[in-house]
Symmetry: D4
C-alpha cells in the first residue's frame, strides 16, 4: 500500500456519507489517502497533533469537512504549511450557510481553499490538481477526467434529443 | 492589584476599540481582568496554552472577540472547562454575519455564550453575572446597575416630554 | 429532592422535544433543575413574576428557549440579575434565523448568553459551567465530560480506520 | 389640548429621528398623540405598566419602534388589547434585519402590525386608518392624503418630461 | 346574515389552507367576513375594482395574503383608504422571505400592516382589534381571548410539571 | 422626433440617477424612448392606464425601476402583453434585496425580465436586444457594442501590463 | 417541422423537470423550440459554440437554466447578441439563492433577463413576448393567454364563494 | 526575469486594488507571476484562450478575482486542468454575497478553491502552498511566514499589556 498523499479529516462520523465523495474520486485518480475523525472542539489536541505532523509524514494536502460553526479546516490550516481544502457541510437549522462562512472567511495569513457546500467530490479533484503540480501523470488524469465529463454532457444531450 | 477573574482575548489589535467595552464595564463592577491578543489561526499554540492554563491560573470566565470566520471563542472553549463568552465582531464584507454564525453555531458539547455583534459591553455584564454566582456582592452590583438603567430610561423619557 | 439551581423555561410545549436536551445534561452533571412553560406574549405576568422571583428562590441560572420572534430570554433577562441562557428554536418559515437574531441581538445592558439553534444540550453544559463558579465539584465533572468527548472522538476515528 | 389617541413608544432616544415621522404625519391628520421612551429590557415595569393602562386611558393605537432584538412592540402587544404597530429600526451590524424579524414574526395570538424598516411615517398613516374606523372625518383625510400623493407623482412626472 | 366587515383576499386557491386561519378567528370573535380570490398580476382589474369599492361597501379592514413577489396587499392598499393587513405566505424556493419583504417594505404613504409569515390567524386578531376601535364589545372579546391564552399557558405548564 | 419604442418608468424621481443609465444606452443604440414617473401604490390609476395603453401606442418594451417592495414592474406586467424589464433599485435598510425579490419572484403567468440591482444600463441593452428581433440593424449595433467591449477589456489589460 | 425560434439550454438533465415548463408553454403559443444539455464548466466549448452560432441559425431567444453557481446563462450571453433569459434553478443546500444571484447580478454590458427561481414557464412566456415583437399574431396569443388567466382567477373565486 | 508560475486574472481594472494583494505576497515568497484583465462575459474568447493555454505555458496555478455574478474563476476552471483559486470581490448592492456564492458553489467536476471575500492575499499564500508541492524551498518560506505571523501576534499582545 502506498503512503497517503491526502488526509481526509471530518468533525464527526455523521459527515462520512458526504466526505466519502473525496475518497472515491481520489481512488479514481489513483492518489492514496487516509481518513481521520477529529474535532477542533471536542478533540483539540488530536486535531492539532495531526495537523502539525502532516507535512513531515509526507502528506501533500489536507481536506477537512465540518458543519455548523465549522472551525476544523481553519484550525488545521493554523497548524500546517500544507494547503488545506475546506468542505462546508450542510446540516442543522441554517443548512450550511454557517459552515460556509466559518470555512471560507479566514483572516489574512491563513487561507482555506473552500469548495461548495457538501462539495467533497470537488475537494478530491482539487487535491488531485494540487498533487499534479509535482506529478505530471496526475495532470494527465485530470485532463482525461475533464474530457470524459464533456463527453458525458454530449451523450446526455444527444439522448435528450432522440 | 487583584488577581484577574476574567480574561479578555481578541484576535487582532483592530478589535480593541470594540473589546474595550468589556474591560470598562468590568471596571465598573470592580472585577479584575486581563487582556490578551491571540489568534486561533496565526498563533494557535499561544491560544491553546492560554486556554488550557486559564482555570488553574484562577480565571473564572474568558471573553473572546473575533471577526470573519471567528474561531477564537470556540477554539478556546475546546481547551478549558471555564464558561467562554463569544463576541462576534462586525467587520469585512459580510459585516459580522459570518462572525455571528461562526461564534454561536457550536456543536453539541462545547458551548460558547454568544452576545450581540460588537456586544463587548454585554459580554462584560454577563461575565459579572457569572462571577456573581460565587460572590454575592457582585450580584448586588448587578441589581444596582439594572436599577440605574431603568432610572436613566425614565429620565430620558421625562426630558423628551418637556 | 434538592432545590433547583437551574430554571428551564420554554415558550410552548412544542419546544419540549428540543429543550429536554438541557434537562438531560443537567441530570448527567447532577445539577437540580425545574421546568416551566410560559410566554413573553401570551402569559406576560407569569413570565415576569417567575423572572423577578428567580434569584431569591435560589436559582443560579435561567435557560429560556423560544422560536420565531423569540422574546422570552430577553424579557426574562430584563427582570432578573441572574445570567440568562437563550436557546433559539428553529421553527416556522424562517427556520430559526428569526429566533437567533431575536435572542442574541440584545441591547447594551441586558445580555442573553445565546447558544446554537436548538442548542439546548449546550445550554445545559453552559449552565453547569456557570454553576461550577461556586461549586468546584461541578468543575471536575465538566473536565471529565470533556475528556469523555475526546475519547469518544478517538474511538470513532479508530473504528472508521478498521 | 385634546386627549391623545395614539401612543408613540421608542426603546431609546436615539430612535427619535426616525420615530418623529409618526408624530409629524399624525399632526397632519389632526390626531393627538403622546410620546414615551421605554424599553422592554431596561425598563420592563415602565413598559408593561404603560401598555396595561393604555386602553383605559383612552388610547386607540400604540406605535412602538425599536432596533436590534426589537422586543418592544411584541411585549407591549402582550399587555394590551389595543392594536400595536411595530416599526423595526435599522441600526447596528445587521442594519435592521434583526429588528424586522423580531418585530414581525410574532407567535399566534399576539399580532404586531409591522411596517417597513424605519417606516415611522407609514406607522402614523396606519394609525390614522385604524382611528378612522370610528371617526369618518379621519377617513376623509386619508382619502385626501392619497389624492394628494397621486397629484404629486403626476407633477413630478410632468416636470421630468419638460 | 350580517354584512361583512372584513374582506379576506388571497392570490391563489393554494393559499386557502393558510388564509382559512383568518376566517376561523374572525368567526370566534363574531365578526362577519367575506372571501375573494384575486391576483395583482393575473386579475389586476378585479383586484383594483374590489379595493376601490371596499370602503363604500362597508368593509372596515382588508386582509390580503400572497406568496413570492407578494404584491397583492400593497396593490390593494394603493386603491383604498381602509387599513390593509398583509399575510406573507411561505412558498417556493425562498420559502417566504420574498413574500415578507414584498409585503412589509412598502414606500412612504401606503402602509401594509404586515403579520408573520403564514400568520393568518394573527391577521384575523389584528382585524378584530381594528374593528374594536368602533365596537367596544369586540374589545371585550379581545380581552377575554388574551385571558384565555394566559390560562392555557398556565394549564400546559402545570400539566408538564405533573 | 421618432415615436418612442421603449417606455422607462420609475417609482420616484429619486430613482432617476440610476434609471438614466437605460436612457443613455438606448440613445447609443439609436432607439427612441420616453420616460414616466409613476407608482404602483401612490398613483395606481396612472400606472395601470399607462401599461394598458402601451402596446397600442407603439411601445415594444417597458423598463420599470423601483426600490423597496418594488411592485412597479410586476403591476405593469399585469396590464400589458409587452415584455417588461424590471430594474430592482438598491435603497433603504435592506439595500435592494427586497427590491430584487419583489421584482424577480413573479408568479407563473406574468414574467418580469429582471436585471441586476441598479442594472439600468443592462435593462437598456436588453431592450435593444428585444427590439432587434424585428429590426436587424439594431442587431448589428448590439454585435458592434459587444466587440467594442471586448476591445476595451483588451486595451485595459495591455495598459496594465505596461 | 418549423425551424426553432427558441433554444432551451440546461446545465444538467436533472434540470429537465423544471425546464420542461418552458417548452410546454412555447408549444401552447405555437413557437418552435429546440433543447440542449450543455454546461458552462463541464462542456465549455459546446456551450460557446452553440451560443456563437445561435443567431445565424435563426434563433430569436435563448433560455438557459442552471442551479448552484449558475454561470450558464451569463456565459451564453457573452457569446451571442440575442436576448438570453436565465432560469435560476433551486437545488442544493442554498436552495437557489446562489443560482439567483449568479444569474441576475450580471456586470454592465451583458444582461441576462432573469425570471423567478424555477420559473421556466415564465421564461417561455417572456420568450413569446420577445418573439411577438416581430410577429403580431404571437402578441394576440399573449393577450388571449392573459385574458384566460383572469377568467380562471374569476372562476376559482366564484367556486370558493359557493 | 523568471517565467511566471501564477496567473492573476481579474474581471475589471476596478478589481486591481484588491487583487494587488495576491501579487504582493507572491513577491514576498519569490514566486513569479503575471497579470491579466479579462472577463468571462465581455471578453469570453480572451478568457478561454488564456485558460486553455495556461498549463502548456508553464503556469502552475491561476488566481481569478471578480465581483457580482462572478463567473470568471469558474469559466477559467472549465478550460484548464490547473488548480484555480477564486477571489470573490465585494462590490455593488449585495456587497459580495453574490460573488461568494457564484465563485464557491461550483458543480461536481469543476472545483474553484475559494478564499474569503477580497481575500487576494490569502489567494497568494494558497498559490504558494500549491507551488510548494513541487518546490521544497517554497514550503520553507511558508513555514517561516507562519512563524513570523505568530511572533507578530505575540508582539502586539505584549505591547498591549505594557
Amino acid at each position: 500500500m502506498k503512503k497517503p498523499l491526502v488526509g481526509i479529516v471530518m468533525g464527526s462520523d455523521s459527515d462520512l456519507p458526504v466526505m466519502r465523495g473525496a475518497a472515491d474520486i481520489l481512488d479514481e485518480f489513483g492518489i492514496p489517502w487516509e481518513v481521520l475523525i477529529s474535532s477542533a472542539h471536542r478533540a483539540p489536541e488530536k486535531t492539532s497533533d495531526y495537523a502539525r505532523r502532516a507535512a513531515e509524514r509526507g502528506l501533500a494536502v489536507i481536506i477537512a469537512g465540518a458543519g455548523g460553526a465549522a472551525h476544523l479546516a481553519g484550525v488545521i490550516a493554523g497548524h500546517t504549511p500544507l494547503p488545506v481544502i475546506g468542505v462546508p457541510i450542510a446540516s442543522g437549522a441554517l443548512n450550511g450557510v454557517d459552515a460556509l462562512y466559518a470555512t471560507v472567511q479566514m483572516p489574512p495569513g491563513i487561507p482555506v481553499a473552500t469548495v461548495a457546500l457538501n462539495g467533497a467530490k470537488n475537494a478530491g479533484i482539487l487535491a488531485a490538481q494540487i498533487v499534479s503540480a509535482g506529478q505530471p501523470e496526475v495532470r494527465d488524469k485530470v485532463i482525461a477526467y475533464k474530457e470524459k465529463m464533456a463527453r458525458q454532457v454530449e451523450e446526455k444531450s444527444t439522448r435528450l434529443q432522440e
